[in-house]
Symmetry: C2
Subunit: 421 residues, 2 copies
């Protein structure tokens, strides 16, 4: 379906994989990859990206939210920018490619366009967002929401597991929270945003295609949940006297799966811990996270309502209370029709003239950026659909095809924009 990439492209793809390895080595954990927002690891990978951007001929800066940027001026200085990018932060015990592949590919595409900059009817920018996953503060897309100008003041007081607020972490990182507004881009300064990302699902592999066109991105809602009961001695307390928060929370976990399957949505409890955590103590408190997605926002909100009602009923029957505090909500986003035509043209350059179209069940920076400029996305096949796991993998050939497609898509945007003038 795809033409085999040439030797030069394969060599470039090998370099991209090498850069993914170099970034993977920057981790807060000795056992796996973990790189969270505003951490020392965040600063180190920004510096690495800045070095690669500079080598590619771009001017570089870190914005007020901690995102790393590079800019290649076009035919004349100060033109609106077409932005390519993704994120460099990770989940705990992460893979090597989620977000990262999009950043290193964007840098390579900029390097390839640099010799032709005098013909570009826009500036070309590359962005490496500092927080997409929300691993540290629960609230996701902090980097891209700052860029989109959709920052909420209340986020400053959100704290990480160690009790450090986002405001404190930003200051410690060397950023000035009072200048966060300077990270926001104006719509008139932007042409659009193109993001290449691994699929993080099994559909392209099942279809036998290297690349796919993203039609829309499902918006996640996230909650911090608590089930409150009463801690008691595990031996001395008969069942009739127990208010075991873990037994209630376990029923909630099972209901989340059942209701999601019933409604065709996706809901996940990814984090759960029982307190106080003594082997001989009936748990008095359980803290957990809830992540809810569906193809359309209405279906997702309906699923949230069903889960909430079920959890309340289940817990009330056991004398437990349950709280679900919303920590994140992103509306679903449709990719821009015109930019998506350029993505299709880009994939056509790899020999695939009828690419798979699919919606993204995972959230992406493009969702947030869509608030300020049109967005489109290319998905790259990943092995067995595995992501957010050390086994996350891509082939060198698919990376090469993604590089070809992203470069061709950018050239297509340039051609259409020049023709429209």
């Amino acid at each position: 379906m795809n033409a085999a990439p040439g030797d030069a492209t394969r060599a470039a793809a090998a370099r991209l994989l090498q850069r993914c390895e170099e970034l993977a080595a920057v981790s807060a954990s000795a056992d796996g990859i973990e790189r969270v927002h505003l951490s020392p690891e965040h600063a180190r990978v920004n510096a690495m990206a800045a070095q690669w951007l500079t080598a590619a001929g771009l001017s570089t800066w870190q914005d007020a939210a901690g995102n790393q940027w590079g800019r290649l001026e076009g035919a004349e200085p100060g033109l609106p920018a077409l932005v390519l990018g993704s994120h460099l932060d990770t989940v705990p015990d992460a893979g090597r490619y989620d977000g990262i592949l999009g950043v290193v590919t964007a840098i390579e595409v900029a390097a390839r366009l640099a010799p032709d900059r005098a013909e570009l009817p826009f500036a070309l920018e590359v962005v490496a967002f500092g927080d997409e996953e929300g691993t540290r503060f629960g609230t996701a897309l902090l980097g891209s929401r700052a860029v989109a100008g959709t920052w909420l003041e209340e986020w400053w007081d959100v704290a990480d597991a160690a009790g450090t607020t986002l405001r404190q972490a930003s200051s410690a990182f060397g950023l000035d929270p009072d200048r966060i507004g300077e990270a926001a881009r104006r719509p008139e300064d932007l042409v659009g945003y193109l993001e290449l990302h691994i699929e993080q699902g099994p559909q392209l592999e099942a279809a036998g295609r290297a690349l796919g066109v993203v039609t829309s991105i499902a918006g996640a809602r996230r909650f911090a949940g608590r089930v409150v009961g009463e801690a008691r001695h595990a031996g001395g307390t008969p069942y009739g006297r127990r208010r075991d928060a873990l037994v209630g929370a376990s029923q909630v976990v099972l209901a989340v799966e059942r209701l999601a399957v019933e409604t065709g949505g996706i809901a996940t409890v990814g984090r759960l811990q029982a307190h106080p955590g003594g082997v001989n103590v009936v748990p008095g408190l359980v803290e957990f996270s809830l992540d809810v997605r569906a193809e359309h926002d209405a279906a997702r909100d309906d699923l949230v309502a069903r889960v909430t009602a079920s959890a309340r009923e289940t817990c009330a029957a056991r004398g437990l209370s349950v709280e679900l505090h919303e920590t994140h909500s992103a509306p679903g986003v449709y990719c821009d029709a015109a930019l998506t035509e350029s993505v299709v043209a880009g994939i056509a350059a790899t020999g695939d003239h009828d690419p798979v179209r699919l919606y993204s069940r995972a959230g992406h920076d493009a969702m947030a950026v869509a608030a300020v400029t049109p967005v489109a996305m290319i998905f790259v096949r990943c092995e067995d659909g595995i992501s957010h796991h050390p086994a996350e993998d891509v082939t060198l050939e698919d990376v090469a095809l993604g590089l070809v497609a992203l470069e061709a898509a950018v050239r297509d945007v340039a051609r259409r924009r020049s023709a429209a003038r």
Copy 2:
């Protein structure tokens, strides 16, 4: 049912409650009471107990396992000892009385007997065990098992949550692991062991009695459990591709409760945590604890077998593996008939001539000590049966009655022993 204690006894009880408060102030946590084996807090409370023992006229020492002892010689030096005691370690976010009340009451009883030491046909010893709960290393009764001479070499390699082994922690505490055998007592050096403890259950309160006689102590078996699935992206992974360890573990938690209720046993999952713990990651691993008890060992072992079979079946159906590694096993123990007669005589001194007899669903140091000398126990009523919780409470009057009963029980053992000579 009980005679009201006199003013002097009430004053002594007030002092015991004051000592419980002083011990409660020694905590690793600013938010609640947590005092684990071989911690700096352990060393501090041992020093406090030693000071009180010395003031009561006892000679003191800390043994090779970190237990604090005091000894009052009897009619002649070197007589076998009647030991009174309990433990000073706690669960996380503990109450003020579990174990502690037994230690401070034992010290007070020794102080009251000191003037009459020349008439005692035994030495009187007080012990404050350093680990009963097993909070730090999962393995419980470390202090009393060292004294009973039932120490297992394999325990040295058990590690706490920070990865510190018991061997390392012992050395850091100033103990010599190679001398652990010196903590073991010989049967011929002991007369018996009497332990006063809060009930940690609601039965005495329901019966309207301050004190109870313990007939036997149910033996707990404890397991460290793991459910292993596969961590994946929460958005991109459809339900058919998920191997969600938390959904499987939740089914196990519910089965544990159902099977325990069906068989009349008690089984508790007190500790549970999902990994890697990202809000948008399907959990690939869940670690949990399991504590199983029943009135008789055979019923308990049957419950363990049912839970194990159920967990295997449930997890296999979801493509998950489950492991249950036994970390602790204590056989159920029957209290000694003769010593229990002295406990009944002790409670009779409070005016209750037909005391409630009950078995202990909670484990106690007496279980371990029973391997080396006869044991008996007095239970003191606690409010609403709450234990292993900051709300754990006792009344001053009940503490006074417990003090009267324990002293009278010791005098009864002395009387019987002298009469038998």
